[in-house]
Amino acid sequence: MTRGRPAEDLRDTALAEVELTHGLARTWQTPSGFWGALATVDHKIIGRRYIATAFVFLALGGVLALLMRWQLARPESRILSPDLYNQVFTIHGTNMMFLFAVPVMEAMAVYLVPLMVGTRNIAVPRLNAFSYWMYLVGGVLLWVAFVLDMGPDVGWFAYVPLAGPQYGAGKRADIWAQMITFTEISALAVAVEIVVTVLKQRAPGMSLDRIPLFVWSMLVTSFIIILAMPAVMVASTSLILDRLVGTHFFNPAEGGDVLLWQHLFWFFGHPEVYIIFLPAVGMISSILPTFTRRPIFGYLPLVLALVGTGILAFGLWVHHMFTTGLPRVGESFFTASSMAIAVPSGIQIFCWLATIWYGRPVLKTPMLFILAFLFTFVIGGLTGVMVASVPLDTQVHDTYFVVAHFHYVLVGGAVFPLLGGVYYWFPKITGRMMSERIGRWVVGLLLAGFNLTFFPMHILGLQGMTRRIYTYQADMGWGGMNLFVSLSSLVLATGFLLFFIDAFRSARHGAPAGDNPWGAATLEWATSSPPPPYNFVRIPVVESASPLWDSPDALPVATGLRMDRRELLVSTVADAVPEARESSPGNSIWPLWAAAATTILLIASIFTPWAVVWGAIPVTIALIGWFWPKGTPEDES
């Protein structure tokens, strides 16, 4: 385009503010009404849906946890039958890992990453819509199966042969495996979107050393997802094939191997822990500067720690198999690598401590969650060093010690920062503040409730209480402590309940937040709360790692994007130099149809392998409909 710009070429360069925001809103809006809601590709709407759905699954999984604690409160109790208990603990684990922890972190990223890197929508936005539907169906599949008494009962790890064709009767294990397919498709799709968004859609000037640490953590996490999740897809597909068409991958009688399952599962399963943990530490690194009123100490070591953890994550899987009788040499290697992961974790903790030490801590709720995290996670990390040792692991493996350990890591290490993140970004998402007073109660109840519930489990494990048992005999002497644990879990549950109440109440009646209620430094706070459909009136330009602190008066911005069609900025990978204006796909109902067609294929294939053949036809039609040009402004060139 040359200087003599025609009048109808609507760019944001010369327009008045009001005209500009109107035009952008018209172009980027989601039409109201039911179909509009189904067809939207706005990352904020989808992100909100994702977050809300994930928290619904958290609540449901929490109810299952309480059921288990009710059953275990007394020896030989008969509240849950062994069959029901096995479904309950399987679904609790599966739900928390696949339907809550991973999706909620990705959901936060779907909402926040485009805002934090200063772009107008996530990359491949229709895939984003598709991924949400797949996730929702996967979750509903698991829970409907549970309600119909067809819930998986083979553990969230579904070890063969128990989950195999010979011992896993009925369709329970198939439902588990297909639920995996749904959630992995959705997780992989989001990972691709995040990678492309972070690499190619950053605001001008946001070079690699100015990327907010949460965004860095999501980039590393997305790569871990891309490299780890195919393993569980291969595993669950092989399992379904073994069960449905008689292959022998895991059948030792015909040359298969039982441990192959464990290798594949944990090659995914251990990185899974970091898929959950890294976004959480990214949140801490992004929240901490706001509440210590200074830039984070050790940006580079923190990034390197994230990347290092991501790489090491793939060298640890065997530490879940220390008792399977693998060769000693191999085990020693995995002990060393498992312990080495303490180094990047240590780097992060020390950098945060230094940031607090030389900062001016403001003890608002998000900061309190960070303190609760440090208190709890350090314990989990240290017990992690213990289970990394082969000889110690032979005693504590598959006992309540390990149950305690990973809840310290996952709840203390990931859920606490996540809830801190919710308190922190809630005003951005809803435009309203959550209650500071209730927030303090939530932190207190969760911290006390969590530690009182899970710390005694270490001791129970050492006293010989194994995992996944639906009851225990009175003469084992575990009754007192189990009762204590069960009562403490009520404190923990109260904390969560209060959190949900606060979130519901604040969404309607919270104090209005304003653009930047915490005085934070990153780009998501440079726009209104909640952000408009187009995120930023003009694309921000980044000149430092703390843009809002370093340009407090006027935000440097770029102009020149069209407003009559969805257009965003593509920039270079390393230095974020603008490369092209690229149109971003508009709303479409086709991702929903594609998800529906895929659902038919996947669920029918639980019952007949031919579903893969005839089910491919509607999937193909839906995909053609998805990609066929519709003559929208975005399709012009």
Binding site: V557, A558, W628
Partner: protein, 200 residues
């Protein structure tokens, strides 16, 4: 917050090409996912082979003919694929149409040979773990050929329709070309695995 305009982006091209295109990166990410899947399946094959007393288990090594024919066809397809990419870059619609038809033919040919190749394996998927592993490897790769073939058909239809007069379509063709490279390149280690290892 007040704005201070520091850059004008109006002069940028309205669409990214090659590594400036978002779909190019998306395709790359999906290739990474699928490549990991292939690597894992080869890993499964090798792992089961390392445990077995003999390999292949209870079957002769697969006959070389059909598999080698598939390999040759796939390798030959690289040339029209490369040409197609150049024509798409030059936005030469006539040649792109011809190239897409050729690539459709190069997609159909290995599918026909693939049927023979499954027979030449000399074992069924439900005979033993070796059979399961080779069928799964071959099946996984076949689904990739099918996917790409379907994509080629759709691109063909598009390029023969009114939607062809759009620079964006040529970008789509180039993404298709990129993906076909991936399908061919991943086949080579699988070919080496399926036919080489049983003969070691």
């Amino acid at each position: 917050m007040k704005h201070r305009v520091v850059i004008d982006l109006a002069e940028l091209p309205p669409q990214g090409v090659g590594s400036a295109s978002l779909t190019w990166w998306g395709t790359l990410a999906f290739m990474l996912i699928e490549g990991t899947g292939f690597a894992l399946m080869i890993g499964v094959y090798l792992y089961l082979g390392s445990l077995a007393p003999e390999w292949p288990l209870g079957a002769p090594p697969p006959a070389l003919g059909p598999g080698t024919a598939v390999t040759l066809v796939l390798l030959a397809s690289l040339i029209p694929n490369w040409l197609l990419s150049r024509w798409a870059e030059a936005e030469d619609l006539r040649r792109v149409r011809i190239g897409l038809l050729i690539m459709a033919a190069f997609g159909v040919a290995p599918m026909v040979l693939r049927v023979l190749e499954f027979r030449a394996l000399g074992i069924s998927w439900d005979s033993n773990a070796y059979g399961s592993a080779v069928w799964m490897l071959l099946g996984l790769h076949t689904t990739h050929i099918i996917t790409d073939l379907a994509e080629t058909f759709v691109l063909c239809a598009m390029m023969f329709s009114r939607h062809a007069r759009n620079a964006r379509r040529f970008g789509d063709v180039q993404d298709g070309v990129l993906y076909w490279y991936f399908v061919v390149l991943t086949w080579l280690p699988i070919y080496a695995c399926l036919y080489g290892i049983p003969r070691l």
